[in-house]
Structures are given as C-alpha cells and as structure tokens.
C-alpha cells in the first residue's frame, strides 16, 4: 500500500517537477547563450559595449603592465583594422599598429577623460599612419589639376558581393596620397579643411585627390564585380 503511494507520488508530483525544472534549466541555459551571442555581436558591430573600463585607463597611466596588456587586447583588433586600410601592405599595417600603440602608452597620462578614449586612441593610430605615409614620396602624388565629374554610385547588386577584405585589397591599390585622403574623408569624416591641416596640403588638393580616389575605386570595384560575375557564370556552366 505504501509502495503504491510512493509510486503515485512519483508520477503525479516528482516527475512533473523534475520535468519542469529540466525545462527551466534548458530555458535559462538557452537564454544565457543568446544573451552572450548578442553581447558578442553587438560588441563586434557597433562597439557600444567596447567602453574601456576606467580602471584600465588608470592602470595604464600608472604603467601597470597588466592594464596595458588588457587595453591592447580590447582595442588592438579594431585598431589593426584601421591600420589595414591605411597601409599599403600587412607589414606596414603591423608597423603602424606597433608605433601607434607605443605612442598611446607614452601619451596616456595626457588623456584627461574628456571624450571617448577609443576615439583618442584611433586618432593617434591615424596620425601614426599619416606619419608613416609621409615618409613615402608624398608631394609627387598630389595632383592639383581639375577633375571631370563622374558618377560615384555603386550598384546594389555589386554591393552584396563585396566583403571588407575585398575593399581593403582595392583600397590598397590606390596611391598612398589618394588612399589617405579617401580614408580621412569618407571613413573618418573629416572635412577638407581639416584634412588639409593634417596633411599639410591645400583644401583644393584634398578635394581633387578625393575625386580621383573615388573614380579609381569605382572602376576597380566594377572590374572586380565583373570578374566575379564571370567566374560565377563559368562555374555555373561547367557545373552543369
């Protein structure tokens, strides 16, 4: 009789409870996974949660090695991404990242907490990139002659097939002068006046360089797309 009771209890109470907790456990686990992915994705895409903790900044100012390493770990991938499209090749990009971070560590006590810390770091990296590019033959590639107006629109279907790596490869085909002006105007959002001050060139020089850069990029993207479409077509034909 007692055993029957136990069995009944097992069926009516224990089992469902266990089932319920199991379900709850699964939901919580799934929830945590989703939350984590969201955080990672958000961090990667918009950098919202890449806010650098205050204590890292303070630690760096004191020269605490762990803080410096933590800062690098947090910020270097994005900064390397910047270097990659300013530099002409991967080695130069590494050099810019290295020299830029040296400057960051040296100047960190100058940062007064006003404005975004990462923005400040980004500015230093870009200045380092400009400094390196200036070592190359700078004045020869600047061209002040008037530029004919051309369309600078990229078709939607081309856009879909372009990856960041493709764009970096294309942008590296520009001369250092065009590349730098384009980066500063189109990606960083500086005005021609500001670009002129940063690079030591005139506003009109900056404008003409930008136009040329856009034209070259436009042509290169189109040919890249045509080549890709051709390959795809050939691939389809040979596949069947």
């Amino acid at each position: 009789m007692f055993n029957q009771y136990k069995r009944l209890r097992h069926i009516l109470i224990t089992q469902p409870l266990l089932y319920f907790f199991h379900l709850l456990h699964t939901f919580i686990f799934a929830g945590i996974c989703t939350a984590c992915s969201c955080i990672v994705l958000l961090e990667k895409n918009s950098g919202i949660l890449a806010e650098i903790p205050e204590k890292i900044i303070i630690g760096c100012k004191k020269g605490d090695r762990r803080a410096m390493e933590e800062l690098y770990r947090l910020v270097a991938p994005r900064m390397y991404g910047v270097c990659l499209h300013y530099a002409g090749n991967d080695d130069d990009a590494s050099d810019i990242l290295h020299d830029g971070f040296m400057k960051v560590y040296e100047k960190i006590y100058q940062f007064e907490g006003k404005g975004s810390f990462e923005g400040w770091i980004r500015r230093i990296i870009i200045n380092t990139a400009i400094g390196m590019l200036r070592k190359k033959v700078w004045s020869q590639s600047l061209d002040d002659s008037p530029v004919a107006f051309e369309k600078e629109i990229v078709h939607d279907d081309i856009l879909e097939s372009l990856e960041a790596e493709d764009l970096i490869a294309v942008i590296r085909e520009l001369s250092p002068a065009y590349r730098t002006v384009f980066n500063l105007y189109a990606i960083e959002g500086y005005s021609h006046k500001e670009i002129g001050e940063m690079l030591g060139i005139s506003e009109s020089s900056s404008k003409s360089n930008l136009s040329r850069a856009r034209q070259v990029l436009q042509r290169k993207i189109e040919s890249l797309y045509n080549k890709a479409a051709l390959n795809k077509k050939e691939g389809n034909e040979s596949g069947t």
Partner: protein, 492 residues
Amino acid sequence: MNRNKHIDDVFREKLKDYSKDPPAEVWDSLSGRAGKKRYVRMYSNVWKVAAGVAMLMMVGLGWHFISNRAGKPEHHLKGYAEIDNTEKDISDYEAVADGVREAYNRDKVISGEENKIAVFPGANNITEKSSGTGKITEKSSEAGETSVSYAQYDIIVASALPASGLELPGHETGVSDHLLTSLLFNQELPPSARRDVIDVKDYSSEVPGTDLFRDMYVFDDTPQSDVRRWYLTGMAAPEYSYRTVNNGDMANAGFFDNSENPLFTWSGGFQAGFQAAKRLQIQSGLFFSRSGIQIDRLSTFGRVDPEKYFQESTGLTGNAIVNVGNSIGTIKSDHSNVVYMSYNSSGVDERSVEYGSSINSPLDQTNTVTGLDAGLVQLLNFIELPLNLRYRLNEGKFKVNLLGGISSNVLVGNKVFYLSQGEKTGTGKTENIRSVNYSGSVGVSIDYEVSDHFMLVVEPRYKYYLNSINEDKLLNARPYLLGIFTGLRYRF
C-alpha cells in the same frame, strides 16, 4: 529595389569598424619580449680564423688598457638644445624630447640607436627620456646633491630663460648658459667639441615639439668615437707575382732570372680590424693568396715532344724529359712518361740517370737537346693569416693609412700548367715547398667613407716572403707580390 549607394558609404560601412586580430609579433615587440637589435654574425668555421681573432682580441684588449687613462670620462654629451618656454606642462616635454631626437635623426648628426635625452624644463624635476623604451622616468634632484653628471646623457635640452626654482648645485641663475659652461668646464663635452648649430626652423611644421626650440648644438666627436670599434673588410686584388733568387748552395742563381718570368695572379679575403687607439688599428684576417712563376725556357732531351703524351699515350716509347729552369720547388709530372727536371732533380729522379748516361754517349745521335716552344706556369696557393698594424695619417672622408705587418702563409695547393700554342694543360704539381712560410707586407690604404658604416678601400701593398720557400738549401727563392687591393669595409 535598386538602391544605389555612394562609394563613400560603401567603404565606410564595411571598414569603419572592421576589426582583425593583429599578428602576435606586434604585442611581443610592444611588451619588450622580442629583441630590438639585430646582430651581424661573423661566420668563422675555420679554427685558424678563431685563433687569429682571439689573438687579435688579446692584443686589442691590451691596447685598450694601455690607451685608457684612469679617471677620463668615457661618455660625452653629443648634443644640446635650448627651449624657449618654461611655462609648459611636464607632459609637453615628451614632445620636446621626441622632437629633439627626430631633428637630430633627420640631419643624421648623432649616431647610435639609444640616445638618452634629459630635459631640464626649469622645474625641480629632471625628466629623462630614453629613446626606444618609450618610458618616462621622473627624477627629482635631491637636496644637498652636490653634482649632477650631465655626461650620462647623450642630449640635453635646457631652458633658455633664467630658471625659476631650479636649483642645480652651483647654478642659481640662467640654466642654459651656466649649464653649457659647466659642461665645458667639467669636461663633459668631448675634447674636440665644436658647436654646429642646426637650424630647427625647417622642422617646426613637421616635427611636433621643435617649435619650442631655439638652438641646437651638435658636438662633433668623430675621431674619439672611432676608438674601440670593429671593422670587417672584404677585399680582392690582382697581383704581380715574382721572386728573388739567391745562391744557396748552387753556383749560378742568375740563370733562373733568364728562364723565369713574373706572373699576374690574384688574392682575396677578409680582414678584421680593431681600432685600438685614435689613429692605430690592429688587423688580422684570412686571405687566399696565390703566387706564381712562368718558366719560359724548356728544353727536352728526348725525341718525344711531351705534348704528345698529353694527347695520347699509345704507340709512344721513351720518356719525354724536360729540363725546366725553375727556381721554386721540384716540378713533378702527373704523367708517368713525362719527367721534369728542376734545379734539384739531378740524382733525385732515376730516369735522370738514364738520360745522363745517354746524352753523353757520342754514339747516340738521336738524343739531342731541343728547345721547346712551350712554357710552364707554376701556381702556388696559400692561405694567409696576417697581423697588421695600420696607422692613420689624416682626417676627413678620404683617410690615408700606412700599414705594415707580418703574415703566416700556409701552402694549400699548387698546380703546374704546360703552355703551348696558347693552350694550357694541367701537367703536374710542385713539390719540396715549405708548408708554412712567413711574409712581411707594407702598404698604403685609402679609405673613402660612403656612410656611417661603409667605406670603400683601395690598398696598394707589397708583400715579401721572409724565408725561402724551397725546402732544400740548394736555392733560396723568396716570392714577392705587388698588388692593389680594393674592397668594402664595414664598421660596427
């Protein structure tokens, strides 16, 4: 849906937040794990070179201790810059020190990768910045500190205005004038110091921090800075090779001058040098040195032309016995039917006895002496280990040096060629040569400095063997060589 995008937007959207993991080497280098300096390695597999270099180092160290007087400061200030404004924040002197280094680097007036810069902004702190480490250390001058050794720095940047609050011992008023005077007086500037003012105005728009400068002085100290430096030179030369011959136990040594002629050969190798004193350098090295002789007088006592034996040896009988009027060694033929009779061959070779008896036979008219329209070339290869001293006569881009020294020469190979109708055939070797010989050389070296590290070198030299290279005492033969060496010298 035909949404077209502006190209700027295309790039911005994909690249603005593009991120990629950087290579590990970047962090390694930042964290100081990777080594910064690249070292040039001297490959030396030969133990002789190691012995030579070890000897060189011992002698060099000896010179170092002799030439270094006790108490003389070894480090001298290289440069000095004046800054205008003392009102700046200490953090701005970061830029000042950076600017100083860059300005000096641009003019390439101060060499060396690690330059220690000290900035005296006019406050109580001394800001030290070492280039290459990226660190700033702040030191306060202790009260009661009686002297500061400025010579520990490479470059000093000091305020040009009278300092307020800066109390360097012994200097109450304007820092810069007193500082400079003090440096001169305390011998913290090199003895040959002269002021070269670099115009810093050119840099002000490009190099941050240089707009703060007023003057920059460079203290030129090239001669002193050469001391204790190492040099490596690669050189080669065409050489005129001949010999002097004296009577040993032989009667007519003059005979050989008629039958022999000089030869053009070549030498080449490496020299390692150590600047032991201001004008004196000690050198060793490893050279391949080739000397040679051409023998033009050949005559044969057999009926057979030796050349026939070089081409084909069937159907020929009898030996080709060639009398060679050579003064160096005994020429030994490769070919069993060809015999060379050198100055010392009589009684040595069994076949010479055979010839000797037949030539004297009046009945045998077939054995006659015929001159051969041919010659022999004797080449001797030596590995030379020199030990030279080099004394510099002047300063400037073209430096003239006198050099002299002795070498040991080790015989490593030799060859004899038969020359006939423009054709050269290997025919044997020279024997009875001493394996180790000593020579002396004198010369003049003209170095042209093309950069901080590289020099073009032209070095005419006369090398004379101090001992006879013949093993026997019958004849005294000492080769000599005249050559003009050219090469490239690297200064470490």
